[in-house]
């Protein structure tokens, strides 16, 4: 699952280079947002969704162990 989600994030980064909308000022989304802008607003939304999936499925297991240690007072605190 990790590979799939990170793969999708890399794919999103590749799709960010949307040369196919580069020259289009005629297509409008909702009648006022130029397609080049609407597409990238969509990239931002998809980024949020993919990072939500990463948080759910790619969460680092060692961090949870630290949380347990923290609860039992085993961590350093010098500051």
């Amino acid at each position: 699952m990790n590979y799939l989600i990170y793969g999708l994030i890399v794919l999103l980064a590749i799709l960010h280079q949307d040369f196919w909308w580069w020259d289009d000022s005629e297509t409008l989304v909702f009648g006022f947002i130029p397609i080049g802008l609407a597409y990238h607003a969509g990239v931002s939304l998809v980024a949020s969704v993919l990072w939500a999936l990463a948080v759910k499925f790619c969460w680092p297991s060692d961090i949870d162990e630290l949380e347990t240690e923290s609860a039992t007072g085993q961590t350093g605190e010098h500051a």
Partner: protein
Amino acid sequence: MNTEQIPVWIILGYLSLLLILGLTSLRFFRGTAADYFLASRGIGSFLLVMSLFGTTMTAFALIGSTGESFKAGIGVYGLMASWSGIIHSACFFLVGIKLWSFGKRHGYVTQIQFFRDRFESNTIGLILFPILVGLVIPYLLIGVMGAGVTIEKVTAGAFPDLFAGHGSGPTAVKPGSIPYWLGSAVICIVVLIYVFLGGVRGAAWANAFQTIVFMILGLVTFVVIADKLGGVANATKMVQEHNPHKLRRSVRPDDPLTRYHGDVAVYEKKLAKWQAAPEAKRGPKPREVRKPDGISYLHFLSYLFIPLSVGMFPHLFQHWLTAKSAKTFRLAVVLHPFLIMVVWVPCVLVGAWATSAVIDGSPVIPYGFSNPNAVLGLLVKKLTTPVLSGFLTAGILAAIMSSLDSQFLCIGSIFANDIVAHYISRDRLTDRQRVVYGRLFVVFIVLVTYLLALTRPGGVFTLGVWCFSGFASLFPLVFAAVYWKRATKAGAYASILTTAAVWVWLFAKSGYGANREFLYHDMMPVATIITASTVALVVVSLMTRPPSPKTVEKFFNKA
């Protein structure tokens, strides 16, 4: 009260609310260094989202995004905003959480403490310190100067009996304006008070409040401006008719380029006037108008490196360490791209509309208008009421202060914890002494920044993207420190020194920032610097002795 004073009272009301927040945060202060610098590692999800977003979004998110879109069209969203959405969250998730865990486990407060341990080098801090502070200071100056100028412009005519105007031309100060020195001083003092009293907790609370303020005001401004332009569809239609290249990333040979031709006409008039004037009385030669040429594929792609800077920002590092738990990061990782979209899309649209908006036959932004960063302010002043103008100014100041506070605090923290506590006092300072030094250095940094801002260093605004490039080019260092066991002390030194050398070389090639559109091989300079920095880190690490088993155990043992 005259109508010009309305924005002043709104701004003062807003600043008073911030001071109340600062005083309230003092009541929660426990008196320890961990509490002052890290809020006792107790910041929850909502506050972390807001403080990370508020810190990364400067005033640029409102006025800069509008101005850049006015200048270059809607492509700036893809260049700056959607890349940031992907990369910032990647930095929070892949680097921020790891650094939080090291901070929690080993008690770090600053980046330098982490790098000293990870790379087994006491002196690495002495190299990193001037670089980190040197890259943050222009960023601070941009904030303080931006605040002073914004207040001066928006308060024109407010107090004609108190403040006389001076100068002429575009830099003239109109009578009655709150002077630059006073406006920037008030902003510095307000930020100083809540950071001095509440430390990072005060900054996080203020950031959350300010982020909500600038997001709401940005949206309100968008709705009001769209309405005045005859609705969103009409506003876009005017751009399609007169400057369609602002709605895409290329320029076609048959584009009308209405604004460009209008700007050229104004330029030619100014040039003729300048040439006709006696040589002794001539001011600076009018600046030639640049013909729009679109955004190239490589330029667009190379912007992906810029947002990596958040991985190395010392003030972001400090905010990461304040998190209550690793789970606290989840909301920030997920929501950050969405919040960027909410703030940037309306501003980018307004900037594109401003190029072509015509009311009663005249352009809303006059031809020859050469300051893109003032476009939003001018639109608000022409199309809305003084009340909205006051609130929008409060929103712009909110965006400025929500970054300034964290930067002041982190530099104070680096001075107190790394320079005084470690290098000078050899780790013999008491907890209370650290708090005292932290506060003293915050006062010192605010004072130095203010005094530097009074000199109005001309080139500082062009330094912004160079500071981001510097931090971004150090990203391989932090990424390798966290994920690559084989990264060595010598590799780290090689990476830092290579970054510094290539940065200086390219900065010099750009005429020390004079060429604002400087690209190297059609790419942002950061692409070259980060490549050199990565190669130096990898090659030198592989050629030198690996870190000791103790260090590997400390940072890479999962148990």
